[in-house]
Amino acid sequence: MRPFDYTRAQDSAEAARIAGQGATFIAGGTNLLDLMKLEVMTPDHLVDITHLDLNEITQTEAGGLRIGALVTNSDLAADMAVRRGWPLLPKALLSGATGQLRNKATTGGNLLQRTRCYYFYDPDMPCNKREPGSGCAAMGGMNRLHAILGASDACIATHPSDMAVALRALGAHVDLMAEDGSTRTLPLGDLYRLPGDTPEVETNLKPGELITHVVLPAPVHGRQIYRKVRDRASYAFALVSVAAVIDVESGVISQAKLAFGGIAPMPWRMTEIEDFLIGKAPSEDLWEEAADLLLSDARGQGSNDFKIPLARRTLAAVLNEATRGDDQ
């Protein structure tokens, strides 16, 4: 690990200001420290944000929730208000990592965790994300964890977060504070960028910008399901995950929010699919058509080809489960 300076910030403005000068935030450290040990990330200066006053979950006037960026994954998953109104979120959180990691991992850090691409973690391998212009070892290499949607010729890595997939389906926003203390809000989808020619740039954050909160809109009606398919029963990243909020009224779908994990460089959402489903009666054929919409541009890279049929099947299973029965 490289030597670095360390500052413990007292408030958000101070944290953002120091980060604006080139320092890197550290929250739970569960991802950043691993990357620093491997010298994949080599910050000269860390700003410890764990003492900031950002660990509360409060109600918003709109009937939603405002979640401090430092609320741990464990606390967020256990919060009664969250469990009642947004059960999708705890389901996604609890499917991720392990109890020990979730106790440390924070809401902000979870959103900004880096990919789990094997080659990204190995500084001896070419990787455009780690070292722009060096190439992409995952192409033509092992790419079981990699993207079938949204990738580019420069990078095919996936975003590994489960929490972010649920938040995307729930229509969450992120509150940000810039180095000059100014604030703004972005829809979660706009936080992330697709790799294009610059896979090293993963977000639309300005230098030093701090995530202060995640804001959930008021609960939406419907069944909430998070289905994560992975290589072992626990403690593995998603190969494919589907987050869904679906409601059926009078035999037709009246509410549809869908997001996908494990298949793209960011938590994936296509509102076309949702619009397409609304007003239609559940059927296997409908699920097929929905999957066609999702996967029309999907492209496998070899060891991840199976994700295309797997995503199709998982989506159908989730939609079946969400629309099954008469208690809607």
């Binding site: 690990m1 030597p3 789990r116 072992r232």
Partner: protein
């Protein structure tokens, strides 16, 4: 004084059934358990001497090539850096188990990506790791060969065997099976990363290390350094898991010793998790072709088992895939083939029951295919093919309990609930199936010495360089000695893992408990004879219990009988019973799985293992071994795979997040039954090795269950969801 036995004839005295203390077989807690769970047991890297510097190894980043030099200046100016070194004494890879000499040496020749070719030493681990990252290597890369199938296979004569005419048997067979399975590379993935701390005192080297077989490791280390073995002491009182990966002396030990010598201060070298995965032994990937020829009744007339595996050049070890194939089932005609490719991949060596764990697994898959083709119940098929003597050598078997294991398991598991028609049981989205497999593992006795000292206060001290790699050696040695000397277990202290003690057998090949236990038993028996002499009685007439000695209606305190130490070195050597009979342990695995019809995910619902390994010395530690083996079997079946990059062969998934061992949620209720057995040919304890039996065949029970659940035969391990899905 010594007590020596060469195991030339069976020992039918059932000695341990007639002693009085009542400790043998009991599930006694490990005496070392409390220290381990409270974190006070000092593992290799935790016993750091004053002034220790930290060394971090540097990997070669090409699959093949020549290291011309390292750019020392690139790191020596970094804070804390003390030295950067490479050289002719560096090890290319760890020594194979029992090598007793150094493996290939020299950092110049690069044979695989990940080979440790240099060491950087600094005041702190973090400084050393950073410098290791910064060190520039001057390498001429060469064209390597990393794909075994392209490299091609050698087929050494000594490793091929043929009997009868298998081709003819296949032609004449009522049912013939000819299938090919593949298994991937595996890593032992021991919890404690490999580590060594070297400290010199003049010409004397003390090495604290995490190694399994110290008597060999000492010679290997001395050979690597070019010094007299007498100048080397190795300490390994606690080893945090070995599974074969710590059998031989390894690069970190030699590098630490060289650096400590150069810097004239203690140097410790611990591998990072990534280095453990790419730099310690892997189990070779395998391609296995199995042929089975059965007559109309299901009786086997022929078996063929060809194994294709790989290793580095100049390595003698090659995964003994077919080890159990010569004798597990009947059949006149038999072909065994063993083919080795030389590739630029991480060294292949012993990992968790080398041979049988993948070999029996694939054979048991083929047996399941035969059962399905013939319509014979899988348990019946095995029962009808158990030979009454070794069909290859013609030798008799020592105790042989495969049939009992199979029938016991069948009844206990509820095998009669299984629908033989694949894909016929469904609960919601889940397809349910059952599978089974036989377990078999050769039994080995290995030369061992143990010193037992009965102290004047009536307590006993036991010393050997044997290691306890988490298996329970401290416990069973305590039990055997306490039992033989009639002492409560708290009056026996066991000291292990020190080459100053008499050389034990080392931990490996499941021979540990029986071999070292026998040496301890012999020493105690002799102590009993000495005691008998003192009171002019016959040793057999002495009853020793709770520190009291009873004979001929008299009773005295043991402590009152002795006024000076009685020190005996027990020494056992394998003899004719290793050659005159075929000794093996047996068992049967049963598994029930649920396979998700949508995603192809498999969840094991329950598993049963029935095992026979002679006398069980400690039911608790024996059961733990079996649970571990079955869990590894589960990993082999469903999740574990070292992924080699197709271009340079390097191991891509180098951490515990991506090398998928089963985690708690993957492992269901595991039921273990230990059959009561005595094997007089094995040793005077009549016990056999149990450590590795639990993994042998376990994966096949699971993949056979997947077939029963779904009708999908995954012939490419592990049976990940994509492979199951492809057939659904």
């Amino acid at each position: 004084m010594t007590a020596h036995l060469k195991m030339d004839k069976p020992d039918t005295r059932n000695r341990l059934d007639h002693t009085a203390q009542g400790l043998i077989g009991a599930g006694m807690d490990r005496p070392d358990g409390k220290a381990k769970v409270t974190g006070t047991a000092a593992y290799a890297f935790e016993d750091q001497p004053e002034g220790m510097a930290h060394g971090v190894l540097v990997r070669a980043n090409v699959a093949k090539g020549r290291l011309n030099d390292i750019d020392r200046d690139s790191v020596l100016r970094l804070p804390g850096v003390l030295a950067a070194m490479c050289g002719p004494r560096f090890l290319r890879n760890p020594a194979q188990g029992g090598a007793n000499e150094a493996p290939v040496q020299g950092s110049e020749g690069i044979a695989y990506l990940g080979q440790p070719v240099a060491l950087v030493v600094a005041e702190t681990f973090e400084q050393a790791r950073h410098a290791a990252h910064m060190l520039t290597l001057q390498i001429d890369a060469q064209e390597g060969q990393t794909d075994p199938d392209i490299a091609g296979y050698e087929s050494p004569d000594a490793k091929q065997a043929q009997q009868g005419d298998l081709d003819r048997a296949m032609k004449d067979a009522a049912t013939a099976i000819d299938v090919t399975y593949t298994t991937p590379s595996h890593n032992s993935a021991a919890m404690e990363p490999h580590a060594a701390i070297a400290e010199w005192d003049q010409d004397m080297l003390t090495l604290r290390g995490s190694y399994q077989m110290l008597k060999y490791n000492r010679n290997e280390l001395a050979d690597a350094l070019g010094i007299d073995p007498k100048c080397v002491r190795i300490l390994a009182p606690y080893v945090g898991g070995g599974f074969g990966s710590k059998l031989g002396i390894a690069p970190e030990a030699v590098a630490a010793a060289l650096a400590a010598h150069e810097l004239n201060r203690p140097v410790g070298v611990a591998l990072t998790r990534q280095q453990v995965f790419e730099g310690t032994m892997r189990r070779s990937e395998s391609r296995q072709r199995v042929r089975l020829a059965a007559d109309a009744s299901g009786k086997l007339q022929g078996i063929g088992h060809d194994a294709y595996i790989s290793n580095l050049t100049d390595e003698v070890f090659s995964e003994p895939v077919t080890q159990a194939t010569p004798f597990i089932y009947a059949g006149e005609n038999r072909v065994i083939g063993h083919h080795i490719a030389r590739v630029n991949r991480t060294c292949a060596g012993s990992v968790r029951a080398p041979g049988e764990s993948i070999g029996v697994t694939v054979l048991e898959n083929a047996m399941d295919e035969l059962a399905h083709q013939t319509g014979i119940d899988p348990v019946e098929l095995r029962l009808m093919n158990i030979p009454d003597k070794n069909p290859t050598s013609g030798l008799p078997f020592s105790s042989h309990t495969l049939a009992e294991a199979l029938t016991t398991g069948r009844d206990r598991f509820g095998w009669d609930q299984r629908n033989p028609q694949p894909g016929s049981t469904r609960k919601g989205d889940w397809l349910i199936g059952m599978g089974m497999a036989s377990a078999v593992r050769v039994n080995i006795l290995s030369e061992a010495r143990v010193r037992v000292t009965l102290m004047p206060d009536g307590t006993a001290r036991v010393q050997t360089d044997m290691t306890d790699i988490g298996t329970g050696t401290y416990a069973i040695l305590t039990q055997i000695c306490a039992e033989m000397l009639g002492l409560p277990e708290t009056d026996v202290s066991v000291s292990l893992g020190d080459t100053d003690h008499p050389p034990g057998p080392g931990s490996g090949g499941s021979w540990g408990a029986s071999s070292v236990g026998t040496a301890a038993f012999l020493a105690c028996e002799k102590i009993r004879r000495e005691l008998a002499k003192k009171v002019d009685a016959d040793e057999a007439d002495l009853t020793l219990k709770d520190g009291m000695v009873s004979y001929a209606n008299r009773q005295v305190r043991l402590a009152d009988m002795i006024d000076e130490e009685i020190e005996i070195e027990g020494h056992v050597e394998p003899g004719d019973t290793s050659d005159d009979v075929t000794q093996s342990t047996y068992g049967a695995h049963f598994a029930e799985v649920a396979v998700n019809a949508v995603t192809g995910e498999t969840r094991v619902q329950r598993m049963l293992g029935v095992f026979a390994a002679g006398r069980i010395l400690n039911h608790k530690t024996a059961r733990s071994q079996c649970l571990g083996g079955m869990t590894f079997g589960l990993g082999m079946a469903l999740t574990e795979e070292l992924m080699h990059d197709p271009r340079d062969g390097h191991i891509v998934n180098r951490d515990l997040a991506e090398y998928h061992l089963p985690v708690n949620l993957d492992v269901p209720q595991l039921d273990v039954v230990l059959l009561d057995e005595r094997d007089a040919y094995a040793n005077p304890l009549q016990s056999k090795g149990i450590g590795e039996l639990g993994i042998c065949g376990a994966a096949a029970a699971i993949t056979n269950a997947i077939f029963n659940a779904t009708g999908v035969r995954v012939r490419d391990y592990p049976a990940t969801l994509d492979k199951v899905l492809a057939g659904l």
